[in-house]
Structures are given as C-alpha cells and as structure tokens.
C-alpha cells in the first residue's frame, strides 16, 4: 500500500492521534481522553469494542487477530478467549460521540490559541500566560453540537383526537401532554410510517392499512437506526413472516462458527468459502487464512451495535482489499532465497556432512543444547546462556535434507 516515498510518509494528514491536542498544560485532559478512547493495538478510536475477561478493551477485530497469535490479553497477559468477549456498547457510544465532537473541539482550540496569541501580542507580550488557564470558555458557547443520535427513541407526539380503538384511548391518556401534531412511528414489521395512534390497528390488520405513504418525518439516519433496533429486538420471534426485509440483513444476525480446518479436506474448506460467496482459488493455506479472516471480519462486525454495523458488501470490499495487500506483501524482503542461502552456506553444509560422516558417535558439546531448544523449550529453560540454535525449525529441516541429499 505504501511505496517507498518519504514525502508521502511525512505529509500524511489522515493520521489522527492524541498528539493532535495540545499538552495537558494547555487543554487539560483532552489528550488523555483521546488516548483513552483508542484501542491499544491499532491506536485507532475503538471499532466494535469488546472487553476481555481481565477487563481490558480492544477493537473486536484487533482482539481476534491477537488471540489467534496468543490466547492472552496483550496488556496484562491474563488468559483470554474469543468465546468470552463481551461487547462494550458504552464505549462504542462514547467513541461515536467523540468522533462527532473531535473535529469541533480541535477547531475551537485552534481558534482559542489564535485569539490568545493575538491578544498577548497586543497587550502585554512580556508577561507569561498562565499555561493552565482554561482558554476555551469564550469560544465554546456560541455553537452547539447537533447530534442525530442523541434521542433515538420514536417521537412521542400524537395525531388529532381521531383514535377509535380502546388501545388508542389508553395511549392518548399516557402521552396527551406531549402533543406534537402529526406524529408517526415506524412499523416494526413492515417499516412503513404509521401515525402513532394507528400503530396497533395497523399491526392488527397485518400492515395493510393506515400507513403514511409519503414517509415519516424522522431523519433518515435515526430511521435506519430504529429499524435495526427493532429488527434486533424482534428477530427470532417472527420466523419467516417478514418478506420485506432483505435476506442479507436477516442472515447477518448470527455469528459464523469457527471451523476446525485440520479435520477438513480442501474441498470442504472450499465449500465453506463458497457458502459465503468467497473466492475458492489458491492453495490450502490460502483457503484457510481467507476463511479465518472472513469469520473474524464477519463476527467482529456483529460486535458493533446494530445501527453501526457494516453491510455485507462493505465487508466483502474489506476482504478484497485484504487479499490484495496480502498478494502485494508476499514478495517479502525478509524471506530468504533458498538457492542463494544454499550457495552462501555451502562450506558450512560440507563441514556438517563431513562431521556427520566422519565420526558418527561423537557429537559436539553444543549439539544437545540446540536439539533441546528446538524440541522442548520448557525443559531447556535452565540452560546456561542463550542457545544459538541454527535457525528456525524450517531452516533446520532444510539443512538436514541438504546433508542427506
């Protein structure tokens, strides 16, 4: 993704981090706040935050990736497992709000600092400003942050007094104080806008009557949020009744099970991938890592609150980007060219061959050390000195086969 261009590295403007805020002597707590809302693995604001059993919080995808390396919390090394993740909607809410507020706060700080420097230049440049004076109070007040999701519940106003059913009368009593005229709610079943007073009658007629054709007055974002909230609430209780909701939305509700690839044949893994509409190209390890990645992406997405979940199409796009990155990084400079390695170490191989052929009974004093370090690390912990085992297991196998061949 990143070519070797230092300028591009340095001029990157899309990277946000806590140092965007002035130090705490100027704006107390803001840097720490920004830091607190960031995942300690990816350093981004939390995406689908989950809590491990130790209480540490990470992005769901980051935690999944990390636990596949090592089943422990990366902060405190306490044992951790994907199955014991708890979603953290409170953190998610805080992050959502902070994402809204962050650019605004930064702008206000900039303005305040500008003001202060001009003021200090004009009046008393010699005197030092107290660094911890709250500088923002003046500029914050005139603007109010407007947020769509502050009040996600359905509006409680109501229509004219034309309710007829007994249920309507009950409702009329409960909310007669909040009399916004023409209020409508979203039907949890068909999703159409229905006058608040008619919702029960609408449901009683199997969603056939009373809907408002022109659509409700809610903002579209909170509307879809409502819909998701409803669909989550009601999912499972209504089996097969809702013909109107798209298939993908329904299937997005349950997490994908992890597959135990060791007992699966290539074809079965391909079937798993095909069932998710994923590519079935590549060798076995590629198939497995593709499926693992998809399961992680998919299940991490479910750790978001329903309103924030990505669509399957977006996940597929992320998946495609990941595959491209992988393909690009396969020409990894860290990998050794085997023929080159053989040529460079020819003398060493010959020496080993000589030794192996010449005196089969005798072994060098170091040999037990290196074999122990490869086979059983725990047992070799008490060895003196770090053991210079010659390369990783793969390298060693390579060497051995050379000796024999």
């Amino acid at each position: 993704m990143w070519k070797n261009d230092p300028k591009e590295l340095l001029n990157s403007t899309d990277i946000q981090d806590p140092t965007d805020f002035p130090p705490s002597s100027t704006t107390p707590g803001l840097r720490a706040l920004d830091n607190a809302l960031r995942c300690k693995i990816c350093q981004e604001l939390y995406e689908a935050p989950v809590v491990l059993t130790c209480g540490h919080c990470f992005c769901s995808l980051c935690a999944r990736n990390q636990l596949s390396e090592k089943p422990a919390c990366p902060t405190c090394w306490k044992e951790a497992a994907i199955s014991s993740f708890r979603v953290n909607p409170a953190m998610e809410e805080a992050v959502t709000a902070w994402k809204d507020a962050r650019p605004f706060v930064l702008r206000v700080i900039d303005e305040a600092i500008d003001l202060r420097t001009t003021a200090s230049e004009s009046s008393r440049p010699a005197k030092r400003h107290k660094p911890d004076t709250p500088v923002l109070s003046n500029s914050v007040s005139p603007r109010k942050q407007s947020r769509g999701h502050d009040n996600p519940g359905p509006s409680r106003g109501r229509d004219g007094p034309d309710g007829n059913t007994p249920n309507d009368d009950v409702e009329q009593d409960t909310c007669s104080n909040t009399n916004n005229s023409k209020s409508s709610v979203e039907c949890p079943v068909c999703g159409k806008s229905v006058p608040m007073t008619k919702i029960n009658a609408h449901l009683d007629t199997n969603c056939k009557h009373y809907s408002i054709l022109s659509g409700g007055k809610n903002a579209s974002s909170s509307k879809s949020g409502q819909k998701d909230a409803w669909s989550k609430l009601l999912d499972g209780k209504r089996s097969g009744k809702d013909k109107e909701r798209p298939e993908a939305e329904v299937e997005a509700m349950s997490p994908l099970p992890k597959a135990s690839y060791t007992v699966l044949k290539d074809k079965q893994i391909r079937d798993l991938l095909a069932a998710q509409d994923l590519s079935t190209a590549g060798d076995r390890s590629q198939l497995i890592s593709r499926h693992e990645r998809w399961v992680a992406l998919y299940n991490a997405n479910l750790d978001r609150s329903p309103a924030l979940r990505k669509r399957l199409a977006e996940l597929r796009l992320e998946m495609r980007r990941w595959e491209e990155d992988r393909r690009a990084s396969r020409k990894d400079p860290l990998k050794i060219d085997i023929t080159e390695y053989r040529r460079a170490n020819k003398a060493e191989f010959e020496r080993l061959v000589q030794r192996a052929r010449g005196k089969p009974g005798q072994e060098s004093p170091r040999a037990p050390d290196s074999s122990a370090s490869l086979s059983d690390r725990a047992a070799s912990c008490d060895l003196r000195g770090p053991v210079g085992a010659s390369g990783s297991e793969t390298d060693t196998i390579l060497v051995t086969s050379d000796v024999e061949g």
């Binding site: 300690k40 350093q43 992988r326 912990c381 210079g388 390369g391 990783s392």
Partner: protein
C-alpha cells in the same frame, strides 16, 4: 491486517518525530536516524550517564512485516565498518539480540520506541562486558533474520 500495519506505523513515526522535535520529551540517547518507508527504520542508541557503554553509540535496525503489530518487528544491531554492536551477554557479534520482548513477550500494545527503551536499559544495567555463550557457533549458522532464531530466555537480571 495490513491496514492496521501501515496506519499504526505512520502513527508511531509521527509520534517519534514530534517527540524528537521537543527536547523535553525526547527519550534521552535514542534518535531516529532513518525511516524512508514502513519496512525498515534505523535508530541510534547510546546509554547516557554512568555505564559500561559510556561514549559508545550503536545503531539499531528495525524491520517490519505486514503482520505488525501482531507479530514483533525484527530488531538487531547494525554491524558495519563504522558501527559495531555492543559487547553484551545478550548481543551476538552479528548484531542479533536475545531479548524476550522481541519474541515470546512481544505484545501489540508495545511500540518501536518501547523496544528501543528496553534495549537501552538492557545495556545500561549490564554489569560485565562479555560475549554470549556459544557466540561463534551461533554467528556462523545464524539466519539473516533474527526472528528465525528460537532464543531461550533464561536471564531476568539484565
């Protein structure tokens, strides 16, 4: 994963550059020498104050792969005509370092700076300048990338 890789490294680089510009925050004795891309960075490290390595400057090479930060970077001292690796019981003469933080104890919550500081303190607390046991054997057979070596971490004191 590799999106995490590039974004996180850029963040770290940005942070390092901000720190280096500000003498009050800079980690004393550690300096970024070169970071042209997100694959390989160079740092200079020296131990300030009283230590066995007084007035010695070492260069550290840090190599990343796209699995970073889930996998540790490959870290080693630079060995060239100009700079030599420190003589230290955990540092081989080819520059490879035996430190658990670069292997089993790596955590994605750590950072490149954290590694540099760990290595600096590893040098600072050294009591006797000596080569690691079996240095010659290791150096003769060592792979190019120290991450391919399975080190055994046995010594908690240095």
């Amino acid at each position: 994963m590799s999106v995490v890789y590039s974004r996180r490294l850029k963040k770290e680089l940005q942070e390092i550059q901000i720190e280096q510009a500000d003498p009050t925050k800079r980690a004393a004795g550690i300096q970024l020498l070169q970071a042209d891309d997100l694959k390989i960075w160079f740092f200079s490290i020296e131990v300030l104050g009283e230590s066995l390595y007084k007035n010695e400057v070492f260069h550290l090479m840090v190599r990343f792969d796209p699995e970073y930060p889930f996998k540790s970077p490959a870290v080693q001292f630079v060995v060239s005509d100009k700079v030599k690796p420190p003589v230290h019981p955990h540092v081989y003469t080819n520059g490879h370092i035996c430190a658990s933080i670069l292997g089993d104890d790596w955590s994605p919550t750590l950072s490149v700076m954290a590694i540099c500081i760990t290595i600096q303190s590893m040098l600072a607390s050294c009591k006797k300048k000596e080569l690691p046991e079996g240095n010659d054997d290791y150096v003769r057979t060592a792979p190019d990338n120290p991450k391919k070596t399975r080190f055994v971490y046995h010594d908690d004191t240095v």
